[in-house]
Amino acid sequence: MTTLTTSLPRAAWLVLERDLRLAFRRWEQVTHPVVFFIMVATLFPLALSPEPALLRSIAPGVVWVGALLSSLLALESLFRADLDDGTLEQLTLSGQPLAWLLLAKTLAHWLLSGIPLVITAPLIAASLSAPGEAVGVLMTALALGTGVLSFIGAVGAALTLGSRRGSVLLSLLVLPLAMPVLIFGARATDQAMRGEVSTGPLWLLAAMLILAVTLAPLASAAAVRVSLE
């Protein structure tokens, strides 16, 4: 077996940096999910009522559902471009562990889709009359939660690569697995807004993230291999 000329960390960095660089050329892939997030959040006051008390009570749920749906949207672009231009195949043939490379790829995706949501969230929360003290917890929970969603979503995206009804099927697969993230993320935010201690759900989210980061890339790699067969 030939020795790899590129070390593992370097290989991961190359993948990560490439994805980030490509994203700068296609800004819309970063901004569209954020705009979607803002619009979804706006739907609720329009559909229900603009009364501040009501909005405050539903604010955690609205933010999290919006973030979840926006993440699903962003997942489309995770593998699509690389599949189309053959890069994905090259990654599998590169000799580097595919799971490791996909970890780097998913990390890039998180930075590009999750972080903008984390930054936009305080704006949304404020528009829903949520108290300011909860913002820190909201952003932390979202940072953790969007991470889990990126990693779990990567598995779904890899599985649905070859199929025609891609996006709906992707949602169908990812949503059940994303529900625990929603439950604990919304709970943490809700507790913070009511002034209660919210560390419990945050620790659970952190644990989910660790589990996702370590195991999901393995599943993603298996799924990519299946899809490219």
Binding site: L175, P176, A219
Partner: protein, 247 residues
């Protein structure tokens, strides 16, 4: 080598087809007897619960189907893993067979649980840990079946859905331990509780009969379905010609 030849023979589709066909009555008849006597014992013979009255009798349908929903998924995930790792088509056939069975019993568990919940807790549904995770299990079954049908190539469908089944396996221990980990509206373990079952024998015996009966029923159904799946997957038609008259 002698000990493993039976396993290798079993993994051969025509051999398995024959054996499974012979096993069906051995599963189905005891299953029918156990279920009939178990239901009779639970519905007619067992005394009414002093707290829940006759409503508790729903347990004889609800608990075994909940058990089946978990067991089916576990079987599906394990055989999917075996099929994925060792590339055994028969294993994938078993995984495919489990899905509709498991999904239907998950739905039954949710529905009967709901019917039991209304008189007992005053509500048809609550978003506690056990019910929510069982609902997620139902969605996972649906997602599995949806993913399968999205592929024209059966090998790709097998392998892709195998990955999905394995990812979703984390839900099974969550469902099982949810009543201990969280304050749940759903009651805790009564049969597997510490210090032995908390149920009198007149109620427990029919329940155990139902558990065993449902499990054997699953085995019978799986045999029938896997035989069908084997036929769909079989490339070599020659042994199919020798199938002769319908069984």
């Amino acid at each position: 080598m002698g000990t493993w030849t039976w396993f290798h023979k079993l993994a051969s589709p025509p051999h398995f087809y024959r054996i499974a066909g012979k096993m069906i009555p051995w599963f189905a008849i005891p299953a029918a007897l156990l279920i009939v006597f178990g239901i009779y014992g639970g519905l007619v013979r067992a005394p009414a619960d002093y707290q829940q009255g006759d409503a508790f009798r729903i347990i004889y349908v609800h608990a075994p189907s909940a058990w089946l929903s978990l067991m089916c998924y576990s079987t599906m995930a394990i055989s999917a893993a075996v099929g994925l790792i060792w590339r055994i088509k028969l294993s994938h056939a078993l995984a495919a067979a489990c899905a509709p069975i498991g999904a239907s019993f998950t739905l039954l568990a949710l529905a009967t649980g709901s019917l039991w919940g209304k008189p007992m807790w005053g509500t048809f549904w609550t978003w506690d840990a056990r019910l929510t995770s069982e609902l997620i299990l139902f969605f996972l079954y649906l997602g599995y079946m949806a993913l399968r049908s999205a592929f024209d190539d059966l090998t790709r469908a097998d392998r892709a859905s195998a990955v999905l089944a394995l990812v979703g396996i984390v839900n099974v221990p969550i469902i099982h331990f949810s009543v201990t980990w969280w304050n749940s509206l759903h009651q805790g373990s009564t049969v597997l509780a510490r210090g032995g079952p908390k149920m009198p024998l007149s109620m427990l015996a029919p329940l155990l009969m139902c558990f065993l009966g449902f499990t054997l029923l699953f085995a019978a159904l799986a045999c029938v379905r896997v035989r069908g799946e084997v036929l769909i997957r079989e490339r070599n038609a020659t042994w199919l010609k020798e199938l002769g008259s319908p069984q």
